[in-house]
Amino acid sequence: MIILSPEEVRARKRRNLWIALGLVAFIVLVFTTTVLRLQQNQADERALLESQANGAARVVK
């Protein structure tokens, strides 16, 4: 049977806490990145559609 010293248990607890915080931070960053990229892509698409519409209008004139 393996008996852990109080120091080992304490160190493991602190490491686990920081791993959890790191993972949560990573999830938040991935989520934020996804939202920002979606916004950017939508803005690019809108700009493209507007420029196409303006081009078509010029041809009609």
Partner: protein, 321 residues
């Protein structure tokens, strides 16, 4: 059960030890130069995207540092400057440091790619492999030119920052790379001149150990003569403005003066103080004779910071070209 009480079954490493594995001081320089590349690059960038990109570059550089410490634990334990590092001091196990470095490398490269573009992510991955694999494993112990070739790893961050902002790596980004690349040899060899004993003990063929102090002082001067014009170049290529021009010229002349003073000195000709008196001494407890080397080392850091600060100030204030 007795064994469990004498030999730790689990690691007793603390989170602070893992933070130290990231080489926070090197990381701060990486953050600064990468941020400069990102800000100086043309175009605008969402501040959140920029912040996440800088974080990824910092963590990637830290991961490379962790891998370096994992691979060099035994060597680090032999040198005064590095013996307190977590792996060398036995506070973190080698495999734990390695796993930490690999996981952070993967996370940082992946996130940078998702957040900005895959050119920036590829350059970050290249930097990590270059530093931890090429420099640490292959180069460092094989040639006195280790620091010259290995210096490229430290020079990549502004290019990564630029690529993150624009998706491209034009010549302006590579000029920033060249500034750090050419700055590294005089900076590192000045330090090596007054801690050569340490490197010799660890079996690392740094220039003063392999070729002697006189040759090192000459090479510092030669590299400085190449470095200073390159450092001034952004002011004359339309990349920077008046502030940068003044800082780079005045600082460059001072750098050249210190390199010339070092060349004429006898820095590194005798063993350092700790060896001479046979006792432990602080790293910066150098002989009066080695003062020109220490002064150049300290000034080199100041000069690089001043150059990149000037670029940053000009870009942020719109005073640049």
């Amino acid at each position: 059960m007795t064994e469990a009480q004498t030999t730790p079954v689990l690691s007793t490493s603390q989170p602070e030890d893992f933070f130290q594995l990231l080489k926070p001081r090197v990381m701060s320089l990486v953050v600064f130069t990468a941020a400069t590349g990102l800000v100086v690059a043309p175009g605008s960038m969402n501040p959140f995207v920029a912040a996440i990109a800088i974080l990824c570059i910092a963590v990637g550089a830290g991961a490379a540092g962790a891998l370096n410490m994992a691979l060099e634990g035994e060597t680090d334990a032999l040198m005064r400057r590095t013996r307190g590092r977590p792996v060398a001091a036995g506070r973190v196990r080698k495999n734990d440091a390695m796993a930490f470095g690999v996981v952070l490398s993967l996370f940082s490269v992946m996130l940078l790619g998702m957040n900005t573009n895959w050119l920036a992510a590829g350059l970050l991955a290249l930097t990590i492999v270059y530093y931890a694999g090429f420099y640490t494993l292959l180069l460092k112990r094989r040639t006195p030119q280790n620091i010259v070739i290995g210096g490229a790893a430290g020079a990549f961050p502004p290019v990564i920052g630029w690529a993150a902002a624009t998706g491209q790596a034009p010549w302006q980004a590579w000029l920033l790379f060249l500034i750090i690349f050419l700055w590294t040899p005089p900076h590192s060899w000045a330090l090596a001149l007054y801690s050569a004993g340490d490197y010799a003990k660890a079996g690392i063929p740094m220039m003063p150990v392999a070729k002697g102090a006189r040759s090192t002082r000459l090479q510092i001067l030669i590299y400085t003569l190449i470095f200073v014009p390159v450092a001034i170049a952004p002011a004359f290529t339309g990349m920077a403005g008046l502030i940068y021009g003044v800082v780079s010229v005045v600082g460059g002349l001072a750098f050249l003066g210190l390199a010339l003073r070092l060349f004429r000195s006898r820095a590194g000709d005798e063993p350092d103080k700790a060896e001479a008196v046979g006792r432990e001494a602080a790293l910066y407890d150098v002989r009066a004779q080695a003062k020109p080397a220490r002064d150049l080392f300290a000034f080199s850091i100041l000069y690089l910071m001043a150059l990149f600060s000037a670029l940053l100030v000009e870009a942020l204030s719109g005073l640049g070209v």
